[in-house]
């Protein structure tokens, strides 16, 4: 029976064995009896706790104060903290990002929320040319403690402009950190760490992660930058699943275990700084690495991880390395094409098994009802 070491994903744990073991390696406190929260609730709780703790934390973005409250992640916050600290903005991503930087320079700790990561492209000048550069180019005399939350969309025909995973754009640039937690536990811990961080942090929350539930301690805690987590131990292949792809990779591990392949699954949690040591240690044992991203592979996070592993381990042992992500095309809306556009548990399993065997096996697991991806209806 497949053993899962992450304590933070009850649904997956139950699927595996009904027993969740705590690895001790993780910074998550032990937990079977913990409260269960959804990812959405975890984000909201982290935000509320930090706002209560620190009066300099402010939250804004398009629609953070509207009835839908960014899928509920900002619900109730304006009532609790008032419209000066929590406000919806005009449709002005560029200027509001610049303003967020100004607020941060003046001593506030802004959280700027975007309901789609695609809209970050309107903010990228301020983020890359100003936020990321400020500390260094002013010789350490100014800092920008800014959190930018951006959601990756998927499902229900999000299409070309509402589906992009652009996190690697920001990994490319020194001076900005990138978190992409996949569980409620890590969502809370990363967001708190991001808010307390004195440098700009991009916090990536994937829309499909919102449906995750899992144990979340009530007291505030940080999941600090630069530490990955082994979520399933195994010896045959290392699978790194980024953001929502972590969930699909956990499901893939079940399919693989059905055919006797013991995958080790790693959740990087933070993409910048990246815990390459944990990944390399694993690949040193397994000799095989598959990195699965919720983005294109070209110049992506998966390319970066594979490159760093190759640089460190090539010559030291035999390696088989592969990346898997969006198909190399624009995201289509037609359901038949959209299905082919995204990696899923079964196609991840196929890729992983082929890598282990060193050849195309022509195997695709039959879908297990307990491992189906979450589907939802409606635009958001």
């Amino acid at each position: 029976m497949l053993q899962l070491t992450t304590p933070t994903r009850t649904d997956e744990c139950e699927k595996a064995s009904g027993v969740c073991q705590h690895p001790g390696k993780s910074d998550a406190p032990a937990l079977l009896a913990e409260r269960t929260l959804s990812y959405v609730e975890a984000i909201r709780e982290a935000t509320a706790q930090e706002m209560a703790r620190d009066a300099s934390v402010v939250l804004f973005g398009l629609d953070v104060d509207d009835p839908k409250a960014i899928q509920g992640t900002t619900k109730g916050l304006v009532e609790r903290f008032g419209p000066e600290r929590v406000f919806g903005t005009p449709l002005s991503e560029d200027a509001m990002t610049g303003a967020a930087i100004g607020m941060a320079l003046a001593g506030l700790r802004p959280i700027h929320v975007h309901i789609r990561m695609d809209f970050l492209l309107l903010a990228i000048n301020q983020l890359v040319n100003v936020a990321a550069k400020t500390r260094y180019m002013y010789g350490g005399r100014a800092s920008v403690p800014l959190v930018v939350r951006a959601m990756i969309g998927k499902s229900w025909g999000q299409g070309a402009q509402h589906s992009q995973g652009l996190h690697s754009y920001f990994m490319h640039v020194p001076g900005i950190k990138v978190a992409a937690p996949s569980t409620p536990h890590d969502a809370k811990g990363c967001l708190i760490a991001a808010i307390r961080d004195d440098d700009p942090v991009l916090f990536v929350d994937h829309r499909m992660c919102h449906f995750q539930t899992g144990p979340v301690p009530e007291a505030a805690y940080e999941v600090l930058p630069g530490k990955a987590r082994i979520t399933v131990p195994g010896d045959d292949i290392t699978i790194v699943g980024i953001s929502y792809m972590q969930t699909e990779c956990l499901r893939a591990a079940h399919y693989l275990s059905d055919v006797g392949v013991r995958a080790e699954v790693i959740d990087p949690i933070w993409l910048a700084p990246l815990d390459i040591d944990t990944i390399c240690d694993s690949v040193e044992r397994t000799g095989r690495l598959l990195v699965v991203d919720t983005a294109w592979t070209n110049c992506g996070a998966s390319a970066e991880i594979v490159a760093r592993v190759a640089e460190r381990l090539s010559g030291l042992r035999d390696l088989r390395l592969a990346r898997f992500g969006f198909a190399p095309t624009t995201c289509p809306t037609s359901p038949t094409l959209e299905e082919m556009f995204y990696p899923n548990a079964r196609t991840v399993a196929t890729q992983a098994r082929d890598l282990v065997e060193g050849r195309a096996m022509g195997w695709i697991p039959l879908e297990r009802p307990d491992l189906k991806s979450i589907e939802f209806k409606g635009p958001f």
């Binding site: 449709l91 299409g159 402009q161 294109w296 095309t329 809306t333 409606g378």
Partner: protein
Amino acid sequence: MMTRLYRELLKIRRAEEEVARAYPTDRIKSPVHLSIGQEAVSVGICWALNPDDIVYGTYRGHALYLARGGDLREMVAELYGKLTGCTRGKGGSMHLIAPERGVMGMSAVVGTTIANAVGHAYAMKVRRQEAIVASFFGDGATEEGVFAESLNFAALKKLPVLFVCENNGYAIHTAQAKRQGSLDLCAKASAFGVPGRSIDGSDIEAIISTARETVNEVRSGQGPRFLEVRTYRWREHVGPNTDFALGYRSEDECSSWIANDVLPRVAARLDQDERRAIEAEVEAEIADAFAFAEASPFPPASELVRDVYKEEAPCCN
């Protein structure tokens, strides 16, 4: 005139009502932003345009696409994600295009097409073409930097572009007054050197006559113009339903717009038989379009990577 007007308005209204009706069957697995209540804006402005004029729009673009004569079958098939759709199932409801009708595209990123329209107008000027460009966008789009930058450039170069702001009072669930320090959109446009006029979107004749005058000014080389058309979205921002339960607006507010609906007032000016004939034609056309969409095939796997570049790339990744 009233005959054609009724036909166009009715076709859009009924097509979108059918989209809303079909939506719960999950055949349309993508977001739809309905224009129900706002049809007169697209119909009235496009009334004043010539066949070779160009329009750019937004994700709320069914009305504009149809008002320009975009093919209904291809639109419905597109919503169904079918190969026969106007973008072969690639773009969906938010990215309709009909170049043969001068519909040059619609973007899901607010404000982006305003600048594209300006560039199109520049090209037409350089190429000494007579046609003009109409750029349709919402009240929310005027808050984006690209609005200011585009108006400035259009005024600077005296471009043949008509900016049409469909002011439905809201961006998603947030009223204009909660987003803008000044609500006078025409004053903002004129500050950039783009004269503006504001029109009541319930008055189709006012829309048409103002559009005609304004289009003439643009066409005669006087430079860009701005029209604000005050209108109202009856349904939710995205999706087929009403959304009064959310509490951001009242049903009463909507009722007053519904009471002023253009469609029955235009209908009342036709005689019974004529009206019935149009209604029957429109219903048949819509039924045909939905049947066409249902019967059409989904795109084959080969479509996934087709059209990323002009030629199929030998290797993209």
